[in-house]
Amino acid sequence: MKRHVRPYGDTTGDGMVQVSFTLPVPPGPKAEGAALQLAAKMGLDPAMVVHSHGIGGDFTFFVVYGSATHIVDLDAVEVVEREYPLLSPAEVNGVLRKLLRRKLVVVGGCIGTDAHTVGIDAILNIKGFAGEKGLEYYRELRVVNLGAQVTVPELVKRARAEKADAVLVSQVVTQRDAHILNTQEMSAAFREAMGDRRPVLVAGGPRFDPLMAGELGVDRVFGRGTTPGEVASYLVHALRTAQPEGAT
């Protein structure tokens, strides 16, 4: 892999990208010119408006192809690489049995007013996601799915009552940063209520960035496309690193 790369259309280094957008301008030559100006400011040179059509009387939609003048420096790219090995359900069960000699308790739900349980259900329900079975499938995990619109106090209470080792919250709705504020409220509440004895806190949702863990006050953040196996493997990893040295 080369250190410096450009987008690939059909030839190395051609920089070709395709974008679409709408301008609040009635369709016509002026609108096309405006689209080209925007494309140039976005770093597309040369750019072509390959399609445009009016939406109502006041808007125009464009499809633009062009060569991006920008260059990506891969050395300057920061991402969270998976810091733990991916385990099969059998391996997860094996490690947990040896490590805990009891089931690992996972409490999950959607907090705040968020009613979108698709994400948490994909991870927790036995049905699973992307061909992987959900956490309910793991023999050594005990899963408590609280569902949608769980209040933070309720979540803390249940986590305590169930003696949760890990708490998973899902946030889909992002209007006015609700996902960030809700998650921060949650992590603060656990810290307040349980201090160092708090469970492992995991936040997930399509608009989360794994780099946000610190800002959110949680131990790990999972973004779009996360599978149950990744979460289960992480929980094992978190448990292992929390154990005093030599315990494994």
Binding site: T22, F61, T113, V118, D121, Q149, P206
Partner: protein
């Protein structure tokens, strides 16, 4: 004519089982009232507005009155008797004055007896009958406007969602959508409204992922769409949600403001919002009676089962839910033409023959409910953010809708699960629908699945599984089936869930003129 050759005996068995499964629940619904039903009753009797002086923020007057009555004398006789008795006792001119006096602590509610009770019931009856006359006038007005402006030129009618959080922005988006071809505008509600035990007041501008359902917002949208109807030359229908803890009240507000369709499912609130099952069934029955009176098409929410469970494995749960929804609706007085039973295109596109499976399921719904305006809902679960794949999937969804004669088509967005749709997303989605309708609107005429082919066999299989499940539900009881996680995998016991404390067993002397009038007594 039928393409699937369903056995009429099996279909009749399915309906008979649905009726038997529903029967105990209907009895429970008849034996109980809820705080929301009582509030809806007072709204029909003319109470409006909110207590803006309350320290908890605006509290609707109707909540003040019903809560106070409950504190003073309970609601097992209904709110009408104590409220109208107090109105007379204190010589107050209107329910709003009564509410103000209630808030000021001047009213001590009690249940009248004998002639005083009859008198209170009579005045209540008169007030409620007046409210129902408004509902009736709105229905007549809708018929008049449909005659004047016309219905959409072809089926399926095109249903589009707006959800900005601000009713004024919604109006702009709705008007643009209607001009671009939408026949039905649904304003999605703010996340979390279903769990509010009151209906917010006034025009609202700050919702989360949707706009609050309020009487004023209803009025604003309906008035704007009346203007647009005139402009585009067809009657644009307006849709909202009669679901959640205020289902009956919202149904009343919809009737008072001439909304045309309302989302109203018999089990959605229980399963997906964890609302108490009894609360839901009581509220649902009353709200459906109101919808029947208002000529409002209900839309049921079977699509939701397929987003939580697998759309192939759980296909029969959709059929079962449709049959239950049909029975509950008929029992509440809704005729077939007001039954927008739902189903959805949610099979994983990676499953071989997924499109043929979709056609089988869609056709089964069509042939089981030939006179119902079925609502066909687009893929959401397998919209991955790959907007190009999503656009194609929506095209297949549109084609399935045309091919199987669906009545209402909810327009799918390629940006589903990515962002709130852009103006251009909506425009492209409508272009997708228009292309398919223009290119293939008559294709149903040529579509004859082989009599013993894949599609026909699959439809028979799903119906068979539905009958088996209904049989099990009849044996176990519907409430137990819900508690066991039969639908959408959620387990919801009858004594748990939100709003359970708002359910009240009716006393022998319970009076509710609204219920009497709605049931034609």
């Amino acid at each position: 004519m039928t393409l699937l050759g369903l056995d009429p005996e099996v279909v009749a068995t399915a309906r008979r089982l649905a009726a038997r499964a529903a029967e105990p629940v209907v009895s429970i619904a008849k034996a109980h009232t809820t705080v929301a039903v009582e509030r809806a009753t007072l709204r029909l009797a003319g109470i409006t507005g909110a207590d803006t002086g309350h320290r908890a923020g605006d509290v609707p007057w109707v909540n003040r009155v019903v809560d106070t009555v409950r504190d003073h004398c309970g609601l097992d006789h209904g709110v009408v008797l104590p409220a109208f008795h107090a109105l007379r006792e204190h010589d107050l001119g209107s329910l709003t004055e009564l509410a103000e006096a209630t808030a000021a602590g001047q009213i001590q509610y009690r249940i009248p007896t004998g002639r005083a009770a009859d008198r209170a019931a009579r005045t209540g009856h008169t007030a409620i009958a007046k409210g129902l006359r408004t509902v009736d006038r709105n229905r007549a007005q809708r018929d008049k406007l449909v005659t004047r402006f016309g219905n959409p030129p072809r089926r399926p009618w095109i249903y589009l969602i707006v959800a900005t959080g601000d009713i004024d922005e919604d109006v702009v988006q709705a008007a643009n959508a209607a001009r671009a071809g939408a026949d039905i505008i649904a304003v999605i509600r703010s996340t979390g409204q279903s769990l509010l035990d009151y209906v917010p007041e006034g025009a609202t501008h700050h919702g989360f992922a949707g706009t609050y359902a309020t009487q004023e917002n209803f009025r604003i949208m309906r008035a704007a769409m009346d203007d647009v109807s005139k402009e585009v030359g067809r009657y644009i229908r307006v849709t909202n949600y009669a679901s959640g803890l205020c289902m009956p009240e919202i149904a009343v507000l919809a009737g008072l403001q001439r909304l045309d369709m309302m989302l109203n499912d018999s089990m959605y609130g229980i399963l997906f919002r964890d609302i108490n099952p009894i609360r839901t069934f009581v509220d649902q029955r009353f709200s459906r009676q109101v919808h029947a009176r208002a000529g409002i098409v209900i839309n049921t929410g079977e699509d939701n089962y397929l987003t939580t469970a697998d759309a192939v494995d759980a296909a029969h749960t959709v059929t079962v839910s449709q049959l239950l929804n049909e029975h509950f609706a008929h029992e509440a007085g809704l005729p077939d033409e007001l039954l927008g039973l739902g189903h959805a295109f949610e099979i994983n596109p990676a499953v071989p023959e997924s499109f043929r499976l979709e056609l089988a399921h869609a056709l089964l719904a069509r042939e089981l409910f030939p006179d119902a305006p079925l609502k066909w809902m687009p893929p959401t679960k397998h919209m991955t953010g790959d907007v190009f794949a999503g656009y194609q999937l929506d095209g297949f969804f549109n084609l399935a809708g045309v091919l199987t004669g669906q009545s209402i088509l909810l327009v799918g967005m390629m940006t589903e699960a990515v962002v709130t749709p852009f103006l251009s997303d909506r425009d492209l989605a409508l272009r997708n629908v228009r292309y398919v309708l223009d290119a293939a609107s008559g294709l149903a005429e040529d579509f004859r699945p082989a009599p013993d082919g894949f599609i026909v066999k699959r439809a028979h299989q799903v119906l068979g599984e539905a009958v088996d499940l209904l049989d099990r539900i009849v044996r176990d009881g519907l409430l137990d089936a819900i508690a066991d996680g039969t639908f959408g995998l959620m387990k919801r016991p009858p004594d748990a869930g939100k709003g359970a404390d708002g359910v009240i067993a009716k006393a022998d002397g319970y009076r509710n003129p609204a219920a009497d009038l709605l049931e034609g007594k």
